[in-house]
């Protein structure tokens, strides 16, 4: 029987990876469709908003990466134990995703012009300092951003922190609570297995 969920994205991590990490952490099977850029144009008009990722479930197609991730988190019970935790998890995701999750992969994987690289790097450095600073202040100190169990916000954080550590290794050492969250996610057996086995992706640093 085919899995209930079908995720379609490009062969990159970026905006599709939080959802993949949530499925992995929950041990829930899904179809992980990765399109080439050539395959995309005919599919584009069939998507709700002309973009990816999309998630198909029960004949319904969802778009918008964080809406999809939150949906899968809700389905798998990784969105938060109570309404306060859910709101706190949402707040971390909102703080971390835009615009850092868009700008850092683009800088790492798609920017070749040196001058452009320099400008983008300045912007990204500022964003990293700002966002990690805020999140460090609010993070739990037990290895979870919120409460005392793994939630989707920890996985969204892990995905971005992975890029940050590629970009400027050792950055997390300045943020001890966040470093602990990163370590917790990394050590999670299901996540460790997924990270070891996941496709490398098309681009430099597997963005």
């Amino acid at each position: 029987m085919a899995p209930k969920y079908k995720l379609t994205y490009f062969d990159v991590r970026s905006r599709g990876e939080p959802t993949r990490l949530i499925f992995a952490a929950a041990g829930v099977e899904y179809e992980d469709v990765r399109l080439t850029f050539e395959e995309w144009p005919p599919i584009k008009p069939t998507t709700p908003m002309g973009n990816l990722p999309i998630l198909e479930v029960d004949g319904v197609t969802l778009s918008q990466s964080m809406s999809i991730a939150r949906f899968v988190a809700r389905e798998t019970g990784l969105d938060g134990k109570n309404k306060l935790e859910k709101a706190q998890a949402d707040a971390f995701v909102d703080e971390l995703e835009e615009p850092l999750a868009a700008k850092l992969p683009v800088l790492l994987g798609f920017t070749t012009d040196e001058k452009e690289k320099e400008e983008k790097a300045k912007e990204v450095d500022q964003l990293i300092e700002e966002k990690l600073g805020k999140c460090e202040k609010l993070s739990g100190s037990n290895g979870y951003l919120v409460g005392n169990s793994l939630l989707w916000c920890d996985l969204v954080f892990y995905n971005i922190a992975y890029y940050i550590e590629v970009y400027k290794p050792g950055t997390l050492q300045n943020y001890p609570k966040l470093a602990k969250v990163y370590a917790t996610v990394k050590a999670n057996p299901r996540i460790a297995k997924w990270v070891a086995e996941r496709p490398a992706g098309q681009y430099q640093y597997g963005v």
């Binding site: 778009s63 999809i68 805020k134």
Partner: protein, 201 residues
Amino acid sequence: MPAYKLTYFNVRGRGELIRLLFAAGEIPYEDVRIESDNWPELKPKTPMGQVPILEVDGEVICQSMAIARFVAREAGLLGKTHLDQARADMLLDGGIDVGKLFEEMVMEKDASKKAEKKKEFGEKTLPPFLALYEGFAGDNGYFVGYSLTWSDIAFFNMMDFITAEFPSALDGYCNLTKVIKIVKRVPGIAKWLKERPITDN
């Protein structure tokens, strides 16, 4: 019932969706509006150095959309199933870029740049967005299923800002016009629209 205290500036901005949701749910809350002069003192006391914040029985929630989603849940307006909730989320997310461009245009201080941005927004950004969302809105006037969700209210709020600059934006969009009508008629919202402080933005 928990005690809710919303703190934001005396503007609609990023707080108004939250206020509309409290109104729709007919949930009493303290609507604290701070003066810009008082902000530097308050800023370090907030979780992320930003407002709006929502205090609920001593706990503080930050990030306007996280707060809005929390209040939508309290008001029973999140969506009935996970799929409904995801659809509401996705429609909200889809409007954010448009909202940002509109905000950029409004905040532009240089008059000729502003005029240029306004033309671009009105001719290139807004029409495809509205055409897309006309398709998303059911002909019954709801974006999700057959009942009001916070995505209808969020759309109303966004168009409230946009129609101030583009009054005839929704002409010809039957479904979207229905969404606006229905939201305006929600008793708590109708009351709030009459009573809310009038602010520039």
